[in-house]
């Protein structure tokens, strides 16, 4: 599990890099941690990438439908960025036919709109989320479980959008998805966004939930070894000072077997976007041990990648990583 998280982190760094890339060569090292290798090399373009991490070779090829196949010549998994398409109808419904609307007062948010989703809608939302982000079901077990799940009448979820006072915070919003039903794990997803980035929180409870605020507090305050649920909290930050754009991601895990903190920082030169530096650290928050530390540097190049990715054997991310890494 720990190794998979490490690889996912490297994959995230590289895929984030690919989003910025327009033919760039990436080099780096993983000087510390369980995956320590002396060299990472990658070549990125808008059609795909190829990379080597120690002895492991990984490729990615952009498909006609916009998705990205990641893997090697033997097998691959699909990464689709369809999150916006998934959320758009929900956001539209929040605006046009909210089941609940309220003017509220806090230091920041003054209005809230909420819709309630039935069991069938909740299930559909979950399946759409898996379609959009297959990494959520890395092991390929969640989809069959969902499809077989009963949808009792009491199954429901709420989606709430909070709007800030536009006079001071014109682009700020918060969305909360609370799932109260056994169709999915009892789950809350909260994303708060502003001009400088976002904060996010994913909470999972294995016992029924009636009040998510209380549940999240209980997870946060639980003594070690007495986990009341699982929580991933973090934030992203973007700041462009006119010369460089700095992107930072930080996340901590609470209630898991081990408590991790992930930090990733990427600095891109505004004048030359293909020139960037990224650094990431995964550490154990209880012991302070560094599990993984990686640094990547990019320069522009005229060379183009030649990805070799199987289009016949498209499976899930866990299977690909297991085969690649011998996990």
């Amino acid at each position: 599990m720990k190794k998979l998280i490490c690889w996912l982190m490297i994959a995230m760094m590289l895929l984030s890099s690919a989003a910025l890339a327009d033919s760039s060569r990436v080099t780096g090292t993983i000087p510390k941690g369980m995956l320590a290798v002396s060299a990472i090399e990658g070549l990125f373009s808008d059609t795909g990438f190829e990379m080597t991490i120690g002895d492991i070779k990984l490729s990615g090829a952009v498909q006609a439908d916009g998705s990205l196949l990641v893997g090697n010549a033997q097998q691959s998994f699909r990464v689709s960025v369809a999150g916006a398409a998934l959320l758009a109808p929900l956001m539209q419904r929040l605006k046009s036919e909210p089941t609940f609307e309220n003017a509220m007062y806090s230091s920041k948010y003054i209005q809230a709109q909420q819709i309630e989703l039935s069991a069938a809608e909740t299930l559909q939302l979950a399946l759409s989320a898996l379609d959009a982000c297959p990494l959520l079901d890395a092991a390929g077990t969640l989809r069959p479980a969902l499809e077989q799940a009963a949808a009792p009448n009491e199954t429901w979820a709420t989606v709430t959008r909070y709007e800030a006072d536009v006079r001071q915070y014109p682009n700020d919003w918060m969305v909360q998805v609370n799932v109260f039903a056994p169709v999915l794990p009892y789950m809350r997803i909260e994303v708060e966004s502003d001009d400088f980035g976002s904060s996010f929180e994913v909470a999972i409870s294995e016992t029924p939930v009636t009040d998510w605020d209380e549940t999240v507090l209980a997870i946060e305050d639980a003594a070690p070894g007495q986990a009341a649920g699982k929580l991933v909290q973090g934030f992203t930050m973007v700041y462009d000072n006119g010369k460089e754009k700095d992107t930072y991601v930080e996340a901590v895990t609470i209630g898991f077997e081990q408590a991790y903190k992930l930090e990733m920082d990427c600095v891109v030169n505004d004048a030359e976007p293909r020139s960037w530096y990224a650094a990431g650290t995964l550490s154990n928050t209880l012991t302070g041990d560094v599990v993984l530390e990686a640094g990547l540097q990019s320069v522009s190049t005229s060379a183009a990648p030649a990805p070799q990715v199987s289009t016949d054997n498209v499976t899930n991310a866990a299977a690909v990583f297991q085969a690649l890494l011998g996990l």
Partner: protein, 575 residues
């Protein structure tokens, strides 16, 4: 016959008095005075200065309305009474239940286009309630007028009783008694500079260092006039908000959440650090002129021994413009009562409350009066004063506080952007520097351009520029030393030639991994609400959130995202 007609008219007049009195009382007195008693410290006029003219308008208006209604007879008269009562009831319901919280009335404009849907629904509720009341009352036929009077009497009694309670509480509180010892900062010498030497601080209220970055993208030459300055791009204000930041800057006293605000003001200005600083200032021959028109933020009465341009406000010092006062108070009242769709036509402008009570000369032209400061500067320039000692001047201007109000040429523009306003203020600073040069006092002056706070979120750090006396450069210097406003007093003394133990910005090495903490007021509903400063109302904020970080503005943003490192429950809320 005529006598009978007169008697019937008088009976209708008496029947109309209660519903007409109710409507006029709500719109003429209660709606405005309820806001006044809850926020008395923000108004320059007193309780009675507001109440008496409002009464003078409300009482005749009630009588006139009743007299006009009484001209109608039989069913039309009953219908008129029903309409008047229905208006009162709908207004009452609007104020009690239907108003959205549109934020504090602090000068920012509401974007009404966002509330169209709410406006329509609100209007439909009004129409439904109004019709139901009128039709329902009219269906009572011969009991209609009695029902109207009964409902009017109950509503009026409830609101008059409430008015009596809040008035009694206000008049027996320090919010009212403080009016007897109100101090004002006067502007007679606002454009004076000393021939013997000047230390000048431009305090641009709300101005983050992020705003410098974003404005420079559009106006790359914006900082050219500051080429003799050093730009400290990693400055921490210590507090977010003019209260308590300015008092902390000028006294060095950290905010104490455990005591009432007035006690903290007194402790700050009378504390050892402040006494030492202002004694040293006086010994070096400096007079302190502090130019701002919103002195509520500073507990300025306790600074009386130190501030040259401070005086007790006497009744003869100002003129109450009753026409403006009544107009703005009635507008404020109606803003609360009318349906949402009509509110945009009645949105109060906080500046009108100040303009209703102008000082008789000596008004400071700074924060609330748009671009008057720049216009005066360009028109009249600065005046060099001989033989009055040296000056320590603070020019407190509005900065990039929403709503943004200046364009890049420092001209008033209600639709200006943040970047334009940022550039506009740099234009004002540049104009002031030019005038200093024209008077031949620029070279020997120490000038600081900074703000007392940044944004409450993300852009919390502030800009800080300093030009020491005698410094000339071809290009502005930049330092990323982790400074803060804790070094304000020490930096000022150093530049006045005073050796002291107070820390200055020059004591902070650029590469020092310094831990700093910035605090902001916050509404955390996990903590109890507390009284509001100089008010009988409940305060807005419950706590101060503290964010401790080591590094630059990115490190602060990260800590902000992680959450506060400490939460300090308040004893009293400033807002």
């Amino acid at each position: 016959m005529a006598q009978n007609a007169r008697a019937r008219y008088m009976r209708r007049f008496r029947q109309a008095l209660l519903p007409c009195g109710l409507l006029c009382f709500m719109y003429g007195i209660w709606g405005a005075m309820e806001v006044f008693t809850g926020n008395a410290g923000n108004f320059r006029f007193t309780y009675f200065e507001a109440l008496i003219p409002l009464l003078a308008v409300t009482v005749p208006a009630s009588l006139l309305l009743a007299a006009a209604a009484a001209l109608l007879k039989k069913r039309p008269f009953s219908l008129a009474l029903c309409v008047i009562l229905a208006l009162s009831v709908c207004s009452y319901v609007q104020n009690m239940l239907l108003n959205l919280n549109l934020g504090l009335l602090e000068g920012s404009r509401v974007d009404w286009s966002r509330y169209t849907r709410h406006g329509v629904i609100n209007l439909l509720i009004w129409a439904g309630l109004f019709l139901a009341l009128v039709v329902g009352l009219m269906l009572l036929k011969k009991h209609t007028r009695r029902a109207v009077r009964a409902v009017s009497a109950v509503l009026l009694a409830v609101q008059v009783a409430s008015f009596g309670v809040v008035s009694a509480r206000h008049l027996t509180s320090d919010a009212h008694s403080a009016r007897d010892t109100t101090y004002v900062l006067t502007g007679d010498q606002q454009y004076n500079v000393s021939a013997e030497g000047n230390v000048i601080v431009f305090l641009l209220d709300y101005f983050s260092n992020d705003y410098i970055d974003s404005a420079l993208r559009l106006y790359p030459d914006m900082l050219e006039p500051l080429r003799d300055f050093t730009y400290y791009d990693n400055c921490d204000p210590t507090y977010i908000g003019t209260f308590p930041s300015v008092v902390h800057m000028l006294t060095g006293n950290p905010f104490d959440n455990m005591v009432p605000i007035d006690t903290w003001f007194q402790q700050s200005w009378e504390g050892e650090k402040a006494r030492y600083f202002y004694s040293a200032l006086a010994e070096k021959g400096y007079k302190f002129n502090f130019f701002d028109s919103s002195n509520d933020y500073f507990g300025i009465q306790y600074a009386q021994p130190y501030v040259n341009n401070l005086r007790v406000l006497q009744r003869s010092d100002y003129t109450v413009r009753y026409d403006r006062l009544v107009k703005s108070m009635l507008q404020l009242s109606a803003y609360r009562y009318v349906p949402h769709a009509l509110k945009q036509y009645l949105e109060p402008d906080t500046f009108t409350f100040y303009s209703a009570v102008p000082l008789n000369g000596g008004e400071v032209t700074t924060c609330l009066n748009r671009n008057a400061f720049y216009n005066y500067l360009e028109g009249q320039g600065l005046r060099k004063v001989q033989g009055d000692g040296k000056y320590f001047i603070i020019q407190f201007l509005k900065g990039t506080h929403p709503p943004y109000h200046l364009d890049e040429n420092a001209a008033y523009d209600a639709s200006a952007t943040l970047e334009q306003t940022a550039a506009g203020y740099m234009k004002i600073v540049a104009a002031y520097l030019d005038k200093l040069k024209a008077q031949g006092v620029y070279d020997d002056a120490t000038i600081i351009v900074t703000s007392d706070h940044g944004d409450k979120e993300n852009s919390m750090q502030i800009m800080y520029f300093i030009k020491e006396a005698g410094v000339h450069r071809q290009e502005m210097a930049v330092s990323s030393a982790p400074i803060s406003h804790k070094e304000m007093l020490g930096t000022l003394l150093r530049n006045m030639g005073v050796k002291s133990d107070l820390p200055s910005i020059y004591d902070i090495p650029e590469d020092e991994p310094r831990e700093r903490t910035v605090m902001r007021n916050y509404i955390d509903t996990n903590y109890p609400y507390v009284p509001k400063y100089h008010s009988t109302a409940v305060g807005t904020h419950t706590v101060m959130y503290a964010y401790t970080y080591t590094g630059d503005r990115m490190a602060l943003r990260k800590q902000f995202r992680r959450g506060p490192t400490q939460i300090l429950p308040l004893t009293e809320s400033f807002n």
